[in-house]
Symmetry: C2
Subunit: 282 residues, 2 copies
């Protein structure tokens, strides 16, 4: 696996790949890799000839006071894991390479980012959209693979790619979970043992709400109350939001359509966790 730190280096290697007709899958990450990321790399290998992963803790998507400084970083370990998972290229730029000066360009998707995490993290998705647009233009991948755990992020990127006609297929891959159901996340590393045990309530709440949909529940408000009630039963967890919305538009509904996105954000100890499930309505 080749490690590249400059945009020019990526472009040169990409041109080479283009000449030989190789198809490239991009897996953008912020490092601190876990099985969820590696599943994206494996999925990328099914969809393209080479997987190029990026590791970049994007300052533009952290608000002041968020965990940018303490976000876990371990590039050596990330590199080993990516190589073992079969990635061909690791793009690991410094912040100055991606943002040589403050950007003057804002990419915003107001309708998709007004709710859920967007309501709690102002500017977060503008930072995500900006860096992903840059990565698309730098790597020029045929396909880009994102995790379903960050569902709103995936919805934003899918819509941005469609609206701007980026020549890239957006693939959203299923959330990878621990044995007890907790969604894999780099931020799980922050959790003390008691918080770690409490955190499983998120997945349990999603399962209960999914079961309610299967049993005939169609009311958005009822599903949200069910999610919130389940989380409230765990004293170590403080709910940020519980939502039942349209998975594509992220808009709330009175009565469910074909599919429902059940989504949660909560603080467990000092750590903010998110999880979600998309449920087909029978």
């Amino acid at each position: 696996m080749l490690t590249i730190t400059t945009i020019a280096g990526v472009r040169a290697r990409r041109e080479e790949a283009g000449r030989t007709g190789l198809r490239v899958a991009l897996v953008p990450t912020m490092g601190a890799l876990h099985d969820g990321h590696l599943a994206l790399v494996r999925r990328g290998r099914e969809l393209a000839d080479e997987v190029w992963a990026s590791v970049f803790v994007n300052p533009a998507q952290f608000a002041p006071g968020e965990d940018f400084e303490r976000y876990p970083r371990d590039l050596e370990r990330d590199r080993d894991q990516l190589a073992a998972a079969g990635a061909s290229v690791l793009f690991a730029p410094a912040a100055k390479e991606i943002f040589p000066r403050p950007p003057a360009t804002v990419i915003d998707l107001p309708a998709l980012t007004a709710g859920l995490c967007g309501a709690q993290r102002p500017g977060h998705f503008r930072g995500v959209a900006l860096v992903v647009a840059k990565l698309f233009n730098i790597v020029q991948p045929h396909v880009a693979v994102f995790g379903a755990k960050d569902w709103q992020q995936a919805a934003v990127i899918r819509r941005m790619a469609a609206d701007l006609d980026f020549p890239v297929r957006i693939e959203v891959h299923a959330t990878v979970r621990e044995e007890d159901g907790l969604a894999r996340s780099s931020r799980n590393a922050y959790l003390a043992p008691k918080a770690r045990r409490a955190a499983v309530v998120l997945h349990r709440a999603l399962r209960r709400a999914a079961a309610a949909v299967a049993a005939g529940e169609r009311s958005g408000a009822a599903l949200e109350a069910l999610l919130a009630g389940e989380v409230a039963g765990e004293p170590l967890v403080r709910l940020e939001y519980a939502a039942a919305v349209n998975p594509d538009t992220l808009e709330p509904f009175e009565r469910a359509g074909d599919r429902v996105l059940l989504a949660l954000a909560a603080h467990v100890g000092g750590t903010r966790l998110i999880d979600n499930e998309v449920v087909e309505v029978p």
Copy 2:
């Protein structure tokens, strides 16, 4: 010259060009072509193997009440002129092809669009940035050529391309003028004979202000007053703005740096015209 009306058609032709290693220059236009546009095509031929021109009257860059409906359209004539100027491909999509649904994505460059035309045409440059980003992703040109007459537009696109790392060189080509100095513009077609004669005051004002810079004037306020005063001498012309700003940041200055952008917008009869000149400070 090949005329293509679909995005899929452009992508297929572009992939072919990529396989043979051809370099492509894009000249985006709204049609109603004049010598200014054709100069961009000729410049594109110097910079690439093929010139691909687009003709698309972009609804997203017209505000309600502007001249979207009556904007001059003559695709047959445009096609003939582009073919004669040596373009290889004309991309002439219908509005539904470019905007199959209202876009959810906004591209904004607030610092570059707060002043000049941006102050008068809210949303205009968001519409420009959006459609140009789409064209860059559809055509994937090596170079894109824009006219200096729309200086603020060129500055916005140049900055957007840099901020988003679009793999395209932005070339800005000198304004083409009539014998008497009036900048070529598709909107000149709106001018009745008296208005047409009066309109030359814009270029005359720019020349006077440029001469003042050459003679030692460095004050932004004084240059703006000089521009405005010259235009005020022509009763058929109503000034919208007269500006002396930094050509890259478009910010006003007290004392001129290396270069000055002198820019004017005015209404002549019912027609809004713009013009500008970039002056090296001796």
